[in-house]
Symmetry: C2
Subunit: 374 residues, 2 copies
């Protein structure tokens, strides 16, 4: 499937949860498949931290440019683009095409940098709703996402209950635990205290806080994988031969080599201010907050039907967090399907090719297709 990115511009200000607003912004997006005559087969895919609107397919002439959820979405795939019209959108504040901290603030004529407004999951959903308006789509057959993308999918069912028939929430949670916030905070501190960060205005200094970004990514990677899969893939293997070099700074173990590589790669393309913004959106998400902490009351607004999926070895968004969501939806007598997939890969499992996982999503979308696509 050959795809190409598109962009939609919005001049009217978007009011944000922080009290600020943003105007003259653009959203990068892609679409796959064809919108049917009654516009009933649209599926919106929301992305997590390190992803974009490029969800599926490849760009012309770039056979290695598969979208981040290409195992899930495409012709004949679990979310079948022969039946569904799928939309991927890059979130505001991200660094892959939509307006973000590296762009010019129309109010000042200068690059936003650290002054880009703080975004919440709810703000992203509002921006996505405007994109759907622009595309002429009233109601979504489904909104789906994993991790932070799952939070957006959930929030869609709360903010625009009449516009969502199905919410597909994968490897997600009703909010972050203190430990989750803690990992985000360490990553942010690594970036912010990098001398090349310059208070978030590093663009004008012609530098990038790569040291901090590397550390942030290394921490992230550890928490995306399970202890088991790390032991299986790397264990205690030395990188060079069988005798240790006895060095505190050189690479000794394979796992170190892997993490440094991931950190280096990430620091080459990811924007530091975007990292701060996206982890903060994760921290803030907490729909129960306005309901005295009652998730059941918070989810009462939702009228969609739901598929929730979690993975047994995911300790970042553990199955018990998905079960909290299932419980709160059932307390509201909502229609919920829930699959807890026995997978060794930790949080990363939601991006991987696991037959039981993909089969579960396929079955669910076949059910949606049967009712929605005429």
């Amino acid at each position: 499937m050959i795809v190409s990115p598109q962009s939609m511009s919005f001049s009217r200000p978007l009011a944000l949860r922080s009290g600020a607003s943003i105007r003259d912004y653009a959203l990068a997006y892609e679409t796959y498949g064809t919108l049917n005559a009654d516009r009933s087969n649209a599926v919106l895919v929301c992305h997590a931290l390190n992803a974009s609107h490029h969800v599926a397919g490849v760009y012309a002439g770039k056979p290695d440019s598969q979208g981040w959820w290409d195992t899930m979405i495409g012709p004949g795939k679990p979310v079948d683009t022969d039946r569904f019209f799928v939309i991927g959108v890059n979130n505001l504040g991200s660094c892959f095409g939509s307006t973000g901290p590296m762009h010019v603030n129309p109010d000042t004529g200068k690059v936003y940098g650290a002054d880009f407004p703080v975004m919440t999951v709810e703000d992203w959903v509002d921006a996505q709703a405007r994109l759907l308006d622009g595309l002429g789509i009233g109601t979504l057959a489904a909104v789906m996402g994993g991790s932070l993308g799952g939070m957006q999918a959930l929030s869609w069912t709360l903010q625009y209950p009449q516009r969502v028939r199905h919410g597909v929430v994968i490897a997600s949670a009703p909010n972050l635990t203190a430990e989750n916030i803690a990992f985000n905070e360490v990553a942010r501190r690594a970036i912010v205290t990098d001398p090349d960060f310059h208070g978030g205005h590093f663009y004008e200094h012609g530098v990038v806080p790569k040291r901090g970004l590397r550390i942030a990514r290394m921490i992230g990677h550890i928490t995306y994988l399970s202890d088991d899969v790390m032991n299986e893939k790397f264990g205690r293997q030395l990188r060079d031969g069988i005798a240790p070099k006895y060095s505190t700074q050189e690479i000794e173990f394979q796992i170190e080599s892997y993490l440094r590589y991931q950190g280096d790669k990430f620091s080459e393309y990811f924007d530091a201010n975007t990292y701060l913004l996206i982890t903060r959106a994760l921290d803030y998400f907490d729909p129960a907050l306005d309901y005295d902490g009652s998730l059941a009351r918070a989810l009462a607004r939702a009228s969609a039907r739901f598929l929730l999926v979690s993975f047994t070895t995911d300790w970042r968004f553990a199955p018990r967090r998905s079960r909290e969501l299932v419980k709160a939806l059932l307390d509201n007598r909502r229609d919920v399907s829930y699959a807890e997939i026995d997978a060794p890969h930790g949080h990363d499992a939601f991006l991987l090719e696991d037959p039981r996982y993909l089969g579960t999503v396929r079955s669910y979308f076949e059910r949606i297709a049967a009712e929605a696509v005429r």
Copy 2:
């Protein structure tokens, strides 16, 4: 109990596992209680990452200077200094009194810095054995430690089986998992890539890589605590009032405030090169390596009796790692007592006052006293 630190100097070179050696070094140590006539009541306490020879008691005129295991060791305490002669020793390469990276290398006349030789658990045990020689102690009633200290206690029973009657190994493991090494590596990278690290020779520049030390400590703290205890102590509480400030750099959540405080405090007193050395010693420890990975064969040398203790919510040194040790000792028909304590505090539990935990150690030492102290 008023205590005072002592020091013993060693001129003869100590051969290290790396192939290097170290000479003209000193070990800081403390002793509590009285060595009995037949020198049979000595207990050596080995320390973990952020601790020292100051295990118990307080310094004269400093009522708040309790040793790091003061709940465990002292008159009438589980390890009763009315019965036992307890020795605490600061490891080589540490920063609390024994020779370390901040001292002068006798071979060059310059501060060691990053050139301080890489230490292993086995090297520390060899150095501790020399200290015992100097104190005129042939055989230990017990050697004990938690975490990295537990690794040293275990290694004692393998390197000097005839000199140890009991090994007390708490919240420890036969080696680090890939995930453990990964966390150590991120912490090390944060330190090494801090511009103030200067390749480990920051002393001569009059600076300290505090940014890196802060990040290292924050990561450490997250892994010392359990998810449960973090949620209980901090949860999602905001630091100031009930409304978020919507900021990526300011402190929003209590957990952030706690971690930043811990990081700041640590960076004021802990040596960066010591941090690298100690985490590397953790990484390298793997007694089964020379036995084709067979822990049972590796532990065949041990002739001591053992008490092992683990804590249910410790995910850094999980109970299953202690059970591997128990299994390998039982395979060798060794005398092993094992307690898995149901405690909410994660790895930190080994330093805390838990009646079941302290009661277990007390009972075990009463048994040792009954046989050893005449």
